[in-house]
Amino acid sequence: MAHDVLVPATAGGHRRDTPLKLVLSSVLFLYVGFILLVILANVFWLGHPGAEGDEGYSPVSALFTNPMMRSGLWFSLRLSLVTTLITASLATLLAIPSAYALSRYRFRLMPLLDTIIDLPIVIPPLIAGLVLLVFFRQSTLGRFIDEHVLNIVYTQTGIVVGQFFVASAFAVRALKAIFDQINPRFEGVARTLGCSAWGAIWRVTLPLARNGIAAGFIMTWARALGEFGPILMLAGATPGKTDVLPVSAFLNMSTGNVEIAVTIAVMMIGIATITLILFKRLGGQGYIW
């Protein structure tokens, strides 16, 4: 009976809520507008003639007239793509079993495990790089690896290691969320139908996680693409050798080549946008880390 009384009250309350809706949504739209404004300002600046007083040339035209700049940018782009694809692939390969175990099994020290996995994401990226550098230069195991197995410090391999350290934790988090969403009972039913434990994962869980794994791969890749701090510390910032896009943007900015830095910025914003669209298309949720 109380319910009957409530219905018209709620309907009437709807109209009274309008000012509140107005206030809250204007905050939202102001915020979204601010982000858009900052991004668009950069795009417009690139195409705006005479910004540097160079006889009416827009900053972006420097890229067409200066082959040195162009090849430098091209190198950074290629280096970024190759390293991030390797990083994201390795991170995903590591994350599939780790995330599955984290999602399905109960461990005694679960909270500790959880915290350790989040550490590479939470510690400042520059510090992550510093820690890696110290490991590969000062510890016995790290030095052995660096000297006898894989040359890491101040090499292009170091770029991958730097990206991987953060991106892998990110991939494990993203894939755990995917496996959490898949009802373990699917595997149970598959097993009653004669599937082995492995077979059930292979024939049921992995196909069901396929889109989620793809979404996780894309976000991991995007994260690796934006990595700066660890690379700066571990691989250095040598132009033509270890300057991936973010490092190149930093180097160009500090040497006064603002147009290249901003070009990289706009490119990376474009890539981020495409990544997000793909990610959402694949059913990715609102989590970013």
């Binding site: 009972r185 149970g188 598959a190 097993r191 009653t192 139908l193 004669g194 024939r203 069901l208």
Partner: protein, 365 residues
């Protein structure tokens, strides 16, 4: 035959204690109990998805307690059916046979035959997301039967099916089970559904099986007030049985009812609503109670009628025709006929004991 001995399972908030069950080969066994009593946990333990803390499970004299689910040859249909969403209905049904590496021709033939029996031939190319509750259920049943299981376990199979389909599906399920002869364990909280399919019933309460028997016995001779209430006996009264002459009489305030073969002492009287006969004339006699209609609730083909006789309120059922013949209406004086054969007594000392598992020794009816 399934033989479950002294099974203990703890899982989350569920605590199943001393489960003993013996289910004969080919029987349709329904575990009936309220939601949240741990019935699913019991099923999944039989299937092998959970390890029991103690106890043993035997299948045809073979102990399976420690076997992996894939080694037990039991088919499980969960409440939400768990059809594999990335596979078509055909691929879902073929799943188990493909695991067993059966030849494609045999798989195709089996799927076609099962689909025909379950009337889902037209759905075979569709994915589960596009199927209705009833269609999903049929596909899930076909998938479970395709592997020729030793036992079929169904968890609330009618939960996601609409009322009209339910009745039809119950009949089909029973017919299918007869045809395949597969021992079936069906978990339910609905006693009408149970009546429609069960050869044998086990009543589940707070992690224990409190009574096992054929539906008639369980419904007419409940061992506790809980079982009586849960199986729909609406008239449950606590009173005292006193010896009188060569028989016994149930006393509650000024209510007197002659009962058959009961020992004197405090007891609970149980009368099912459908066992009470309504008489028009207000002649009070032995086991005839005079009273008046208090309330009538339309139940479709019948009325549920509350009748007050003195301080006691009775619930009974009357068909629409009967109600019309007697011109039943609230306030109308009526006489209730409650013969001793309609009365079941549960002695109070039985209730005081914790409900004990009852081993079923009888074979199929």
């Amino acid at each position: 035959m399934i033989d479950i001995r002294n099974l203990d399972i703890t899982l989350g908030e569920f605590n199943l204690r001393q489960i003993n069950l013996r289910i004969p080969e080919g029987a349709y066994f329904v575990i009936l109990g309220p939601t949240g009593a741990g019935k699913t946990v019991l099923l999944e333990c039989i299937v092998g998805l959970h390890q029991p803390d103690a106890g043993q499970i035997f299948l045809n004299q073979q102990e399976v307690t420690l076997l992996k689910p894939e080694e037990r040859r039991l088919s499980y249909v969960p409440q939400d059916y768990c059809l594999f969403p990335h596979l078509t209905a055909y691929e879902n049904i073929a799943f188990g046979m493909r695991s067993a590496k059966m030849p494609a021709a045999v798989i195709a033939e089996t799927v076609a035959r099962l689909a025909g029996m379950l009337h889902i031939t037209a759905l075979l190319r569709r994915r589960p997301l596009t199927l209705s509750g009833g269609e999903k259920q049929r596909v899930a049943l076909a998938r479970a039967l395709a592997v020729r299981p030793r036992v079929l376990l169904l968890d609330e199979p009618m939960a996601a099916v609409d009322e009209r389909t339910r009745e039809e599906m119950c009949e089909e399920l029973k017919a299918l089970q007869r045809e395949f002869g597969t021992t079936t364990i069906h978990v339910s909280h609905n006693f009408e559904e149970t009546l429609a399919v069960a050869d044998l019933i086990g009543i589940f309460q707070d992690g224990r099986i409190v009574q096992v028997g054929d539906p008639r016995t369980v419904f007419h001779q409940p061992v506790s007030e809980f079982v009586a209430d849960f199986t729909g006996a609406r008239n449950i009264l606590r009173g005292e049985v006193k010896a009188a002459g060569n028989g016994a009489v149930f006393h509650l305030d000024d209510l007197r009812l002659r009962v058959d073969g009961a020992c004197p002492g405090p007891a609970t009287l149980v009368v099912r609503p459908e066992s009470i006969r309504l008489l028009a004339d207000a002649a009070s006699d032995e086991n005839r109670l005079c009273g008046a209609v208090v309330r009538m609730v339309d139940k479709g083909p019948t009325y549920k009628i509350d009748v007050a006789t003195g301080a006691v309120s009775w619930v009974l059922l009357a068909s629409k025709r009967e109600a019309a013949d007697l011109a039943l209406a609230p306030g109308r004086p009526v006489t209730l006929d409650i013969p001793p054969s309609a009365i079941h007594l549960i002695p109070a000392e039985d209730q005081a004991l914790p409900p004990s598992p009852i081993l079923l020794e009888s074979v199929m009816p």
